[in-house]
Symmetry: C4
Subunit: 207 residues, 4 copies
C-alpha cells in the first residue's frame, strides 16, 4: 500500500509540519487551507476535508490520482482538490501545492479584485523565476466560486497565457502557491505573506 | 463522583488546551474568558471564577447543573455561568460554550454597538448552518451589564427570533460562541476572530 | 543565606517565567524591563542591570533592602531600583512590581504626555480596586528622566494624592504596575497591555 | 579543522538560536537574512546561501576569511558576504554581524529612502554608544543593488564619516546591525525592530 511507503510518510510529515507553522501564524483558521504533495507521476497525497490544518495526523491525509479518483477508500478529499490536480498535471516539476487563508490575503483579495502587483522587493528573489529585485510580480485574483472544476479550468487557462505565475489569490478566500518540494512551497507561502503584509502596511501609511 | 469520570477528564483537558491556545493569541488577558462543556443532559463543567485561562488545571473547573446549582462544593463559578446555561438549555446538540475576550472583539463591539454583518467570506463556511460563501452572518452586540441573568434572558429572547445565531458580542467585553463539541466551538472562535480581524483591517484601509 | 531560601527560589522562578512570557510578546526588547518581588518586610529580590529579561537565570537576580542597600555583593541592580522600592515602602500588601516596555506603551506615552483614561472596559475589573466595568481608570504619564530617585519621589507624591493608582507610564519608556503577588502583577501587565492595544486600535479607526 | 573547534561550535549554535528567534517573529521570511560571527582575527563563520534561517543546522554555515576567500570547500556563501566582511575589517571589537528582513524594516526603507531618525526613546540606550534617552539616532537607507562589493564600499565610506553608526537599512531589503558578541547583536536587532514598530505605529496615528 502506498500509505506505507517512505515517500508517503515523508511527504505527510512535511505537510503536517507546514500546517502547524501556518496555524501558529493564523494562516489556516478553523478548517481553512489544504495541502498536497506529489507521490509519483500519477498520484498525490492531499489533506482530507474538514480538518484543522494545525493538528494533522495520519488520518488527515488521503491519496488521489491526477484524474481525481479517490485511492483511499472512505476518505473525503478537500472540495478544492482540482485546484491542486491542475498544477501537478501542468508541470511534472511541481512537487507540492499549498493553499493558506490569511487575514491579509483575504483582505487584499477583496480590496483589489483585479489583482495586485508586487514591485521591487528583495524578497521577490524567493521565487524560482526571479533573480533580481528590479522586477515586479503580478498576483491575479480569481473570483470565489462553489464550482471548483470551473475555477481550476480558469487557472489553467490563465497559466497558459502567464506560464511564470508564482501564485494566485481567490477572492475572500486565500492564496495558492506551489514548488518543487514541500519546503520550497512553504517558502513561497512565507514570501507571499511577507509581501502582502508589506503592501497592506504601506497602504495604511500613505496619505 | 462525576469529577472522576473519563468524560469529565476528557472535557476539562480539551477546555484547558483551548485556554492555552487562546492565551497564546492574547484572547484571554488577565482572568478574562470562561469556558464550559456538557457532561450529560443536566450537568456541565465550567471554569471557576478568577483564574487565568491559559493555565487551567484540575482546580480551575467545577460542575453546575442546568438550573445553576453548584455541584462542586467550595468552588465559585464564573459570574457569567448563566450565559452558558442558557445555551445548553436551548439546544441539546450544544456540547460546549466558549467566551473569549480579544482586543478585536472588544474594539468592534464599541465601534458597532448595533451589531455587525460579515459578508461573503469563504470562512463563513466554518459555521454549521452555512454551506456557501455567498451569504452574510449577523453578529449582534448586547450591551454590557453586571446583571447576567437579565443578559441571559435577552440572549434567549434574541435566539427565539434568530435561531441560526452562531455567536454574539457583549459591548467592551468579548465574544460568545458554541458548538457540538469543544473542538467545534474552538473552530468557531478562530473563525470569528479571523473575520473580526478582516473587518477591522478593511476599515483601516478604506478612505 | 537568603538566596537559598525557598521563598527566594520561588519568587525568582515566578519572575523568570514572567520575563519569558513578556519576551515572547515583545514587551521587554533588548535589555528593557525590570522585575522585583518582596522577600520579607525589609528585602526584595530584583533583576540585575543589563540582562535580557526573557532569559533570566539565577545570576540575573539580586537582593536589596528597602533603603536601597545592595545585599548581593558584586551585583549591580537596575538603575530603576528606587521605582520598585518606593512601592514596597508605601504598601506592605504589595508583593511584586513589574516594569515592561512595549511598543504600545511607548507610543501611547508619547502621544498622550498628559496621561490617558481607560473607560468602561470589562477588563478594568482585573484591577483590585475595580468591581464594575462602569468606571474609568486614569493612567498618568511621568516624563522620562535619568534622575530615578527624583522620579520615584514624584510617583510617591502622586500616589499620596491618588491612592487608587493601578499603574503608570514613563514617557517613551514603558509601564509600571504591581500586585499582591507576582501572578497578580503579571495579570495587571496583561490587562494594561490589552487596554493599550484597544485604545490604539480605536484611535486608528476613528475618522 | 576550524569547524571542530569549540569556538566554531559555540558561535554557530548562537547564530542558529538567533535564527530561530527571528523566524518566530517573521523577520527572516523564506530564505531571507544572513548571519556571521568572528572566529579570530582573520576568519568568520557565515550562513550559506539559500537556507531558511529558522532551521539552521551544521550544514548551514561555512568559514570565509576577511579577504572573502572560501575556506569551506563546496559551500556557497551568502551573496552579501562582503557586507559582513567590511564590518569585521573596520573594527576588531565587532564579533557578530546580523542581517534581518522584517516587514517593518522593508516598509520604512521604502517610505524614507533618505533615512530616518529615532528620537528620545529610552530603548536607544541598548546601543553601546548611547547612555541617555535624550539623544537621537540616525539610520541611513542605502539603495538596494545586485552589486554587493560596491554597496559594501558605500557603507565603509559612510562609516568613515559617521563612526558611531549602529545599523543601517537597505531599500526594500532589510536591516544590518552588529555587536561585540552574537548576543549583543541580537539585542541590537530587537532594539531596532522595536523602534521601527514605534515609528510606524506613531505615523499611523498622527493626523
Amino acid at each position: 500500500m502506498i500509505e506505507e511507503t517512505l515517500e508517503y510518510k515523508a511527504q505527510t510529515r512535511l505537510l503536517a509540519d507546514a500546517g502547524r507553522l501556518f496555524a501558529e501564524r493564523g494562516w489556516v483558521p478553523a478548517t481553512a487551507g489544504n495541502f498536497s504533495a506529489r507521490l509519483n507521476d500519477h498520484q498525490i497525497v492531499i489533506t482530507v476535508s474538514g480538518r484543522h490544518k494545525g493538528k494533522l495526523d495520519e488520518s488527515g491525509f488521503m491519496v488521489v490520482d491526477l484524474d481525481g479518483n479517490i485511492l483511499s477508500p472512505g476518505r473525503k478529499p478537500s472540495a478544492e482538490t482540482f485546484l491542486h490536480i491542475v498544477m501537478y498535471r501542468r508541470d511534472p516539476a511541481i512537487g507540492a501545492v499549498l493553499h493558506t487563508h490569511s487575514v491579509n490575503a483575504t483582505v487584499l483579495s477583496r480590496l483589489f479584485p483585479a489583482g495586485l502587483t508586487l514591485d521591487a522587493y528583495e524578497v521577490l528573489k524567493a521565487f524560482p523565476a526571479i533573480t533580481t529585485h528590479e522586477t515586479s510580480l503580478a498576483v491575479p485574483v480569481f473570483e470565489n466560486t462553489q464550482d471548483i472544476p470551473q475555477l481550476a479550468a480558469q487557472v489553467d487557462d490563465y497559466m497558459n497565457r502567464h506560464p511564470q505565475l508564482s501564485g494566485y489569490l481567490i477572492g475572500s478566500h486565500g492564496l495558492y502557491t506551489w514548488g518543487r518540494t514541500v519546503e520550497a512551497a512553504v517558502q513561497h507561502i512565507e514570501a507571499f505573506e511577507f509581501l502582502f503584509e508589506c503592501e497592506l502596511l504601506s497602504r495604511r501609511l500613505l496619505p
